[in-house]
Amino acid sequence: MSRNDTAHDETAEESDASDRDDHRNPEVGDPAGEPAQPVDDDGSVSSGSVSRRSFLEGLGVASVLGIGGASATDDSLFEMDGLQTVGDPIGDYPYRDWEDLYREEWDWDSVSRSTHSVNCTGSCSWNVYVKNGQVWREEQAGDYPRFDESLPDPNPRGCQKGACYTDYVNADQRIKHPLKRVGERGEGKWKRISWDEALTEIAEHVVDEVQDGRYDAISGFTPIPAMSPVSFASGSRLINLLGGVSHSFYDWYSDLPPGQPITWGTQTDNAESADWYNADYIIAWGSNINVTRIPDAKYFLDAGYNGTKRVGVFTDYSQTAIHTDEWVSPEPGTDTALALGMAQTIVDEGLHDEAHLKEQTDMPLLVRQDTGKFLRASEVPAVNTDADRPEWMLLMADSDGQLREAPGSLGERDGQKDYSKSIELDFDPQLDAEQTVHTTDGSVRVRTVWNELRDELAQYDPETVHEETGVGTETYQRVAREFAEVDKAKIIQGKGVNDWYHNDLGNRAIQLLVTLTGNLGRQGTGLDHYVGQEKIWTFHGWKTLSFPTGKVRGVPTTLWTYYHAGILDNTDEDTAEKIRESIDKDWMPVYPEERSDGSRPDPSTMFVWRGNYFNQAKGNVAVEDELWPKLDLVVDINFRMDSTAMYSDIVLPTASHYEKHDLSMTDMHTYVHPFTPAVEPLGESKTDWQIFRELAAKIQEVATERGVEPIDDRKFDREIDLTTIYDDYVRDWASGEEDALAEDRAACEYILEHSEESNPADSDEQITFADTVEEPKRLLESGDHWTSDIEEGEAYTPWKDFVQDKNPWPTATGRQQYYIDHDWFLELGEQLPTHKEGPTNTGGDYPMEYNTPHGRWSIHSTWRDSEKLLRLQRGEPVVYLHPEDAAERGIEDGDTVEVFNDLAEVELQAKLYPSSQRGTARMYFAWERFQFPGDTDFNSLVPMYMKPTQLVQYPEDTGEHLYFFPNYWGPTGVNSDVRVDVRKQGGTNE
């Protein structure tokens, strides 16, 4: 009676005639068009009313019945009435019919392909199984097509959070109806209102604000387009039409590595994770891959069996350190010193790649010793230049000591990115040059950046580096040597090194290691920084869908928050002065704009969707006390009641990730795949696109009734016309077709159609939405936003445009730029990467470091409140403490403790962690505010502080290289230089 007979009975239902070796997938469908909409107003919805719990209990009951009535009555060992005696039940058992019990549970009615809209960079395609009209479970679709058979299989992508998103669909947390706050913000007291009431109230308010010219007091906060670009665009599109403010997120979350725009003139560009396997040597530098990149960890783990050496740089013996070949453990905040020490070893021992440095970097450029500025062609009468802007033609000395213009300098380029010029050299510049030059200012001593760098590096001798970092001198020098000597070396840089105040210096120091060794622009090399999803593959389609007017009021969220939370002076005098100067010079914008009479209104209105701004805001105490009261109306659009929803005035119920159409992408891979609805939106919920579309309709209705006239935008050459805002919302601005973008799925198609990556201009090939439903599709090309092409059979690696094709880097010098001659950088002694102590006593004078890394059990705050996952933790927030730190304070594992500083005290459970270094209170972050007793959360202990070097424009007057652009350049919301202490609950503060 072999059951395997059944297994072998493969039916010929294979609908997919692809040649892949893949029989694992059930048939996945996408219902045509939108799912039926729930009935408006009264909320009388037919389905979705059975809770998941009762649905499953139903199963339980069935199971009990399935095992027969005997269980209730016949429980005596010896009463085996009518039952045959079983001899030896090994291999011979007569009563196997009962096995159908579990077989019947392995059953479903339909399967849909979807994924999760969370900021994890996972972008994992899942099959969602539906049974009895309810979402039952999910399993990775496991059908990413392979593009390189020598690499590990890309399947399956997913993690434990994605594996239980189903629980959210019918969870207690789920928001099922529009709600209006009736208690205080945060109290959790609500009145159920109709959609019409909710939209009317919001629309009336918005029309008032715009009519009064306060459209720039309306903010929209939504992060990470790549995780669901249609949902991102839904509200952004409306805010854009209103003349409102779109918030940055990548810098605000301190995910942006400022060193990349500074040195590489690029927001960030990474290899897809499959490329890890191509490396001979990988340093995971503060990147806790095994916790924060679960779907990609395979490439790191498998590389260990492929001859790759894996080094981990972590302050604790982390969950990734355990699977490395060597672990290096610097003191917290000393990564920069370690990197510069390694750089010194490489340079000192002549292990650097000289050809790379000469052609690809600013190392041969000459620097004036009198001003610290680059020597420019405009300053040297002997240099004849054809360039339009000789003041940005920089100079090198060739092998004869003759001054030569550096090709590709900004002065001969048309803006930041100009591929009509080349950096290829027709002479051999000297790295080590020093001479006197006759300039318009007289004789000036100049020397190369290389020589300046060597002087800087000379400070990082082994003794100093060991003293500063605690890492053994032989160890770090050997690692540096090994890194320099292999063919292909790579650094994966993580959040752990990006949250420090001096993160720009840390980035630049670590970047220097790949530059010095020429590890850029080839497979298996580079510096990958996968923190947040800064951009999206289908860039153009997303951009024009989100911002149809093309005139975007973008704001650096860190500065906006800081400004309106009233903590501009929360720092030393010089820094406070520079922050104001940056605003005054328009280097960084703050909205609402200053009015002609010198006044500046407060922000009045905030829409938050796809994010949890209030919970995740650093400077949380100031945000709650100062910023939040300024907002007259906070609207949260959400499927679950998170902390921001709790602190909102109106909450609108949105479709879950299994109830809508959208797209998903990430820079961890080069595929695009969809969300499709497995079930209808629960209760009265609607998709984000539907909600903002209906709000646009309501605004148009109210404005038309009131006879509102169009107004001129204060800043841009356009009119804001509320009487056509719905028509504008649903019009395809590219084709001019009216009503074309009414539905989510049409918006998905719009993005794919208008993006180079999915619809290349020079090819007939095109990816449609239906294609992605069939299986994830590898993108066809990369558009302007990327620094390499996507090539068949190869993992994507960045920087080929510059390293292989010799196009100018998008920096002022046209090269990888380690020397920044901006006045502020010179003043602060940061023209080159250098190690500096962070700010002291941030949060007060306390003995412990406060560290809030990304954890295993949540994607930011999503899943923090998941019952299933909390059962696999301790059910409440915990802080990891070194056992001796705990013992000194009389704390035992499981005790309730208070983590405190001058700003706040936060109560949670102590967990002893022997793999921690002494002196760190480590709280894996993003617990929701309502998980702590008292009115505090993990961010209450964190002040905000901004670094002046991240508020600049460069060049100062024209800003082609560094200029505010949302998520490209702006101050990062750092949070690691915070001091705290810990005591048992009820203890006193010394």
């Binding site: 059951r3 719990r53 090994i90 997913g158 909390l870 059962r871 059910g875 409440e876």
Partner: protein, 354 residues
Amino acid sequence: MSTESDGNGESVDLAEGVDHQVAMVMDLNKCIGCQTCTVACKSLWTEGGGRDYMYWNNVETKPGEGYPRDWENSGGGWKSADHSERQPGEIPDQEDYGEAWEFNHKEIMYDGSDQPLRPNSDPEWGPNWDEDQGAGEYPNSYYFYLPRICNHCTHPSCVEACPRKAIYKREEDGIVLIDQERCRGYRYCVEGCPYKKVYYNATQKTSEKCIFCYPRLEGEGPEGETFAPACAEECPPQLRLVGFLDDEQGPIHKLVEEYEVALPLHPEYQTQPNVYYIPPFAPPQHSEDGETTGIDRIPRQYLEELFGERVHDALDTIEREREKVDRGGESELLDMLTDTNPARKYRMEVFDDG
């Protein structure tokens, strides 16, 4: 190394009466403790109906007390290799498993409660309570993750323990099942299993355990397709190989019988598990002045407690093969542990035609 093989698994010790034996190899060097396997199993098999506290698949941090707490000291198994007498065992208390906590979401979010979100009890233990804790002290602390399912043993002591003979081993694949119609919930099997991988369901009054996802193996779904167990298929690093121990062409046979790098957990329990582990290696210890030393981080003695004496040879073999690959050589062994060949990692239909 390997015994002579004649091509039909005769070198493999199968239970008498069993034609083939399903088996699983788990590579602990790829386990990242993400618990996707745990959640996959739970969502599929153990929600509601009295099963909520059960984790047929769990992942525990080692060294650690595990799930249920201190299971390694709870007895069970056989007294000796001749399987003639069972080692007495204990039935864990409910607190040692932990309860399936309920939470107060609704009260906080919609009813204006000023309490924090908390379990409905004041728990002191749970299925993953000592996650990441391990042993030793910074910078030379150590820990790793150990995923566990029912071992579907060749000499299952749970079968022997059951007075109703309601537990059996399937003829065609050696999967060990508890007959849910015949079982009366006496819990002798819970006591008798040294791995504590049988769970009592107080609602249904039966004992339940991992079924190796036999409906998936059999292709019992609506579309008739076969799947490996959910814990294996859903594992992000794909650290589990699934197949038959007696499939001599398969990686499991090679890893267990030829290379002898895949070892049973606690072989001294004498049940002869059919789940095997590639033992963990770790970066070496640090000296006081922060230098990398040549000293093993995970004490060999500890690994020996878990995997028996053969762990030394297994680790030496892996190290040797890794050095070979580092020098540019090829390694069949490491190739089998790398996820480059999806067709190879789950070989479940090899005997269908037999």
